[in-house]
C-alpha cells in the first residue's frame, strides 16, 4: 500500500471521527445541561468533516497518476 492509499484511509477515518464528534456534541447540546458551545462545536465538526470530503476529492484528482500499491 502506497502513501497515497494510506492517506486516503487516514482521511476517511478522520471524516468519520469528525462526524462522530459532531454527533457527540449534538447529543450533549440536547441533554439537560447542554450549552451553546456544544452546538457550536457540533457545527464546526460537521464543517470540518465536509471540508475533509472536499479535500479528499481534490487529493484523488491530484494523485490520479500515482499507484495505490
Amino acid at each position: 500500500m502506497s502513501l497515497k492509499a494510506f492517506h486516503l484511509v487516514f482521511i476517511i477515518a478522520s471524516i468519520l471521527m469528525a462526524f462522530g464528534f459532531a454527533t457527540w456534541s449534538f447529543l450533549n447540546y440536547f441533554s439537560p445541561i447542554g450549552e451553546w458551545t456544544d452546538l457550536a462545536s457540533g457545527i464546526v465538526a460537521i464543517l470540518a468533516g465536509l471540508g475533509l470530503v472536499v479535500y479528499e476529492r481534490f487529493f484523488l484528482r491530484k494523485f490520479k497518476n500515482v499507484s495505490y500499491i
Binding site: H7, M17, E35, F59, K62
Partner: protein
C-alpha cells in the same frame, strides 16, 4: 555490490525493500497498540458502574491536537508529492510545517501532562475529599484552584465527560494538619490514568521518533536528493507511512480517551 530493489519494486511483491520493511514494522505496531486498546476496553467494560472516571481530560486541547495531526498528515503527503514533481523547495516548506505540527502536538501534550501532575486529590481526616489543582503551598496550607469537595453519590452519576461541568468549582484552602493522604493524578492514581499515560506516552514517543526521522531527512539526510533522488523520494514515502500510522492511532485514541 548493489543491493537489489532499493528503488525499483520487486516483481512478485510490487514493493521496494524499504516499503516492505516499514509495513512489516507497522504490522508489529498494530499488535502493540491493539493489545493496549484491548486492555483499555476490557478494563473499562469490567469497571463497576460509577467507578470509571469521566471528564478528567481537556477536550478542547485534545481537539486542537487532533486537528494538528490531521494537518501534519496532509503536509507529509504534499511533501512527498512535491518530490515526485521534482520541487525540492516545496518539499522543504511542507515538511517544515509537519515538524512545527509535531512540536505543537508535543507542547500541548506536555501541558496536559503537567495539568494532571498538578491536579491533586486530598483526603482529609474528617472524611472529606478535596479535589483540585495545587495553586500554592505555604508552611501550613495547601491552596487548591478550580477545586471541589468530592461527593461520591454525585460522582457516581457522572457517566459522560460533559457531565463534569455540573460540578461547581471554587478555590479551597486545606490546612496541612488536616490532611490524611494526598496524591496527584499521575499514572499511579487510578487504572484509567495508568492506561491513559501508557497509551498517550507511547504515542508521544512515536511522535518524537517520527519527527526525528522527518527532521533528519529534511536536514542532513537531504544530501541524497542530489545523488539518488528516486531513493530519497522512497525514503520520504516510508517516513510518511510511519507518520500516518502515528496519526491514525491518535484518531482512535482521541474519542476513546477524551469523549466516551
Amino acid at each position: 555490490m548493489d543491493i537489489p530493489y532499493q528503488t525499483e519494486p520487486r516483481k512478485d511483491t510490487g514493493l521496494f525493500n524499504a516499503k516492505l520493511g516499514i509495513w512489516l514494522f507497522l504490522a508489529s505496531e498494530v499488535m502493540l497498540f491493539g493489545a493496549l486498546f484491548s486492555s483499555y476496553i476490557l478494563l473499562r467494560v469490567g469497571a463497576a458502574p460509577g467507578d470509571w472516571p469521566h471528564g478528567l481530560l481537556n477536550i478542547p486541547l485534545g481537539t486542537i491536537n487532533t486537528i494538528v495531526l490531521i494537518v501534519s498528515s496532509i503536509t507529509v503527503v504534499m511533501a512527498w508529492a512535491s518530490l515526485k514533481m521534482k520541487d525540492f523547495a516545496a518539499f522543504r516548506r511542507y515538511q517544515t510545517v509537519t515538524l512545527v505540527c509535531a512540536l505543537g502536538f508535543l507542547g500541548i501534550k506536555s501541558y496536559e501532562y503537567n495539568d494532571k501532575f498538578s491536579h491533586y486529590e486530598i483526603q482529609l481526616k474528617d472524611g472529606r475529599v478535596a479535589d483540585g489543582h495545587l495553586k500554592e503551598t505555604t508552611a501550613t496550607e495547601y491552596v487548591l484552584h478550580h477545586a471541589h469537595y468530592v461527593n461520591k453519590a454525585e460522582a457516581a452519576k457522572v457517566t459522560h465527560a460533559y457531565q463534569e461541568r455540573e460540578i461547581k468549582h471554587e478555590e479551597i484552602t486545606v490546612k496541612k494538619e488536616d490532611v490524611k493522604y494526598m496524591e496527584n493524578y499521575g499514572p499511579w492514581h487510578s487504572t484509567y490514568l495508568a492506561i491513559y499515560f501508557t497509551l498517550t506516552g507511547l504515542h508521544a514517543l512515536h511522535v518524537i521518533g517520527g519527527a526525528l526521522v522527518i527532521a533528519f531527512l529534511w536536514g542532513p539526510g537531504a544530501v541524497m536528493w542530489k545523488t539518488d533522488p528516486e531513493r530519497y523520494t522512497n525514503r520520504i514515502e516510508v517516513s510518511g507511512l510511519f507518520w500516518h500510522f502515528v496519526d491514525l492511532v491518535w484518531i482512535f485514541l482521541f474519542p476513546v480517551l477524551y469523549l466516551l
